[in-house]
């Protein structure tokens, strides 16, 4: 078998194992409760009969491992169980919103990745200049800002004061792509600002690390132009760390999305999750948590594979 294929299979198995462990954790977290879900959700005023009926409905009278296997088996077949709040199948709730969240995340990623890598390269090239310092202060600040602060500033100026973009990004089901891009521009821009800073700083650091290498000095000494040194000599070797950084931040988008969706009233998975936490609709929270976790693991997996593919030395380590 080709070593790359073997490596991908190996990573895939590892990812599945991690996902399994996480699903176990997500499920078992409830067992940490002093009582059980029924007592916790129904409160102290519930009669013993209602508690018993609730337990029977949810199968809480079964031992934990049976319920876990049931739950996991259902998920594999696309059945996440029912919401406690409105008894609708969770898979219906998730299906509508997952697409929206992915749309927003991809939108933000398409803008931020080239922007971050480009700015990072420039900052590394003109290290110590006013450009570099300015970018450093800007990125350090925007990393430190709470996401909702950035979101509200954008909303205040671009939407309410100047009226360029809508402040509520809920588009109907019939909106075309242009309309969707327009309506979700502000949430996407918020995510871009937050994520670009991280990626840019790490790209800059990765390139600067490389610039200290002897072969880069050699390239300088033979008279190569700065652009050539960066693009031809440094960048190919910095690809692995940069890909890692990009994936890490795309994964970070998943967390950022939760808050941005709430600010802009965007009907995505994040908002569903927050609403469900407030209502203590635990099955829905568990399901969304598992979906977010799988996306996260998948992204990291992709990054690992890409990083190794661009740097074959990593394949034969140890």
């Amino acid at each position: 078998m080709h070593p790359l294929a073997r490596m991908i299979l190996h990573r895939l198995a590892l990812g599945l194992l991690t996902l399994f462990a996480i699903s176990l954790f997500i499920f078992m977290a409830i067992e940490l409760l002093p009582g059980d879900l029924a007592e916790e959700v129904l409160g102290q005023s519930a009669t013993p009969e209602t508690v018993a009926a609730f337990r029977r409905d949810l199968g809480l009278d079964q031992p934990a491992y049976v319920r876990y296997l049931d739950w996991l088996g259902g998920i594999v077949r696309g059945d996440f169980g029912q919401s406690l709040a409105n008894n609708r199948p969770i898979s219906d709730l998730l299906a509508a919103r997952l697409g929206n969240t992915l749309f927003l995340a991809v939108y933000a990623a398409v803008i931020s990745v080239p922007l971050a890598v480009g700015l990072g390269l420039l900052a590394a090239l003109y290290r110590g200049s006013w450009f570099d310092r300015g970018v450093n202060i800007f990125t350090l600040s925007s990393i430190s800002f709470p996401e909702y602060f950035v979101a509200y500033i954008l909303m205040l100026f671009l939407s309410i004061r100047w009226g360029i973009f809508p402040s509520i990004s809920d588009f109907g089901s019939s909106a075309g792509l242009g309309e969707m891009l327009y309506r979700t521009f502000l949430p996407a821009l918020t995510l871009v600002l937050v994520v670009t800073a991280h990626m840019m700083r790490m790209t800059r650091a990765a390139i600067i690390n490389l610039l200290a290498q002897p072969y880069i000095e050699m390239a300088w000494l033979k008279g190569a132009s700065p652009l050539r040194v960066i693009l031809r000599h440094a960048l190919p070797n910095a690809l692995a760390p940069i890909i890692n950084v990009v994936a890490l931040n795309l994964a970070y988008l998943i967390t950022g999305v939760v808050i941005v969706e709430v600010v802009f009233v965007y009907p995505g998975l994040g908002q569903l999750m927050v609403d469900s936490v407030a209502k203590r609709d635990i099955p829905v929270v568990q399901a969304s948590c598992l979906i977010f976790a799988s996306i996260y693991i998948l992204l990291n997996l992709g990054a690992d594979v890409l990083a190794i593919a661009t740097n074959p030395r990593l394949m034969y380590r140890k």
């Binding site: 994964a251 568990q286 948590c289």
Partner: protein, 273 residues
């Protein structure tokens, strides 16, 4: 600006230190500084700034400035307590894993690997939905999640020290584990740990304020910056910047801490670029 040893301090770090001291003073003397009590209703809802209410009133008619000042004590205090717990337990476990090694290290590390493998906000939401939202659960949940990051760092830096000759010498002398941790390893990894404390505080502070903003963190009527943004968010649609004030207060503090940490990391790493 120059320090006693002649090293120059960048202006961003000076700015950071001044801001941090200012916040600390406001938090400590909140009782003396605030014109009104924390939850006292003093006027109508959403009164404009001016007169007795320097920054206007909030959604329930409480003085905005007073709530901001009380919020400094609550928000920073809770974040500090959380970071303290996370740091103490994380560093202790990390050092323990590094010194003892073997099975204990394996078990702790794999457990932490699993907790770290998905974003902490997701775990926080999951745990809060299970345990409900109170300040104590909030502190414990966030501390547990952040503890894993501290564990990783302290284990990693301690690993480098554990293999050194002077630690070996101390072992051969028959010193106990506590001595090894406290007298041989800790002094040598203090610098990265202190910088990490600053970073962790920022993360904890932002995480708690994010949860409060979502209505799942610090609960009313406690004055807290994250929940104050949430309470007054409706004003934004009238072009009013009042709801941004508590958010700006959070942002300013985290920026200041990041500036200082950035400078400390730069100094201890000996980078002179």
């Amino acid at each position: 600006m120059r320090l006693y040893n002649g090293a120059s301090v960048p202006p961003t770090a000076v700015f950071g230190i001044i801001v941090i001291v200012l916040y600390a003073l406001i938090a400590i003397f909140a009782g003396q500084l605030a014109p009104f009590a924390e939850t006292e209703i003093v006027g109508m809802e959403f009164e404009p700034p001016g007169g007795a209410y320097l920054l206007g009133t909030d959604n329930l008619g409480r003085d905005m400035l007073s709530r901001l000042i009380w919020g400094a004590r609550n928000s920073i205090g809770i974040a500090l307590a959380t970071t303290g717990i996370a740091f103490f337990s994380g560093a202790l476990l990390g050092l323990f894993a590094a010194v003892v090694g073997g099975w204990a290290d394996q078990i702790l590390s794999r457990l932490v690997d699993m907790l770290i493998s998905i974003p902490s906000l997701l775990f926080a939401l999951l745990l809060l939905s299970i345990f409900g939202t109170s300040i104590l659960t909030l502190i414990l949940v966030i501390a547990t999640l952040e503890m894993t990051r501290v564990f990783r760092l302290s284990r990693a830096v301690a690993m480098d020290v554990v293999v050194m000759d002077f630690v070996e010498a101390a072992r051969l002398r028959g010193e106990g584990m506590w001595w090894l941790i406290r007298r041989e390893i800790l002094p040598n990894i203090m610098a990265p740990l202190v910088a990490e404390f600053g970073l962790r505080f920022c993360f904890v502070f932002l995480a708690i304020s994010a949860l409060s903003f979502l209505g799942l963190g610090i609960q009313p009527p406690t004055a807290d910056w994250g929940s104050m943004v949430r309470d007054n968010a409706a004003l934004i649609t009238f072009g009013d910047i009042t709801p941004l004030l508590p958010a700006a207060a959070i942002a300013l503090l985290t920026v200041a801490i990041n500036f200082v940490v950035d400078w400390m990391l730069h100094r201890t790493s000996g980078l002179k670029d």
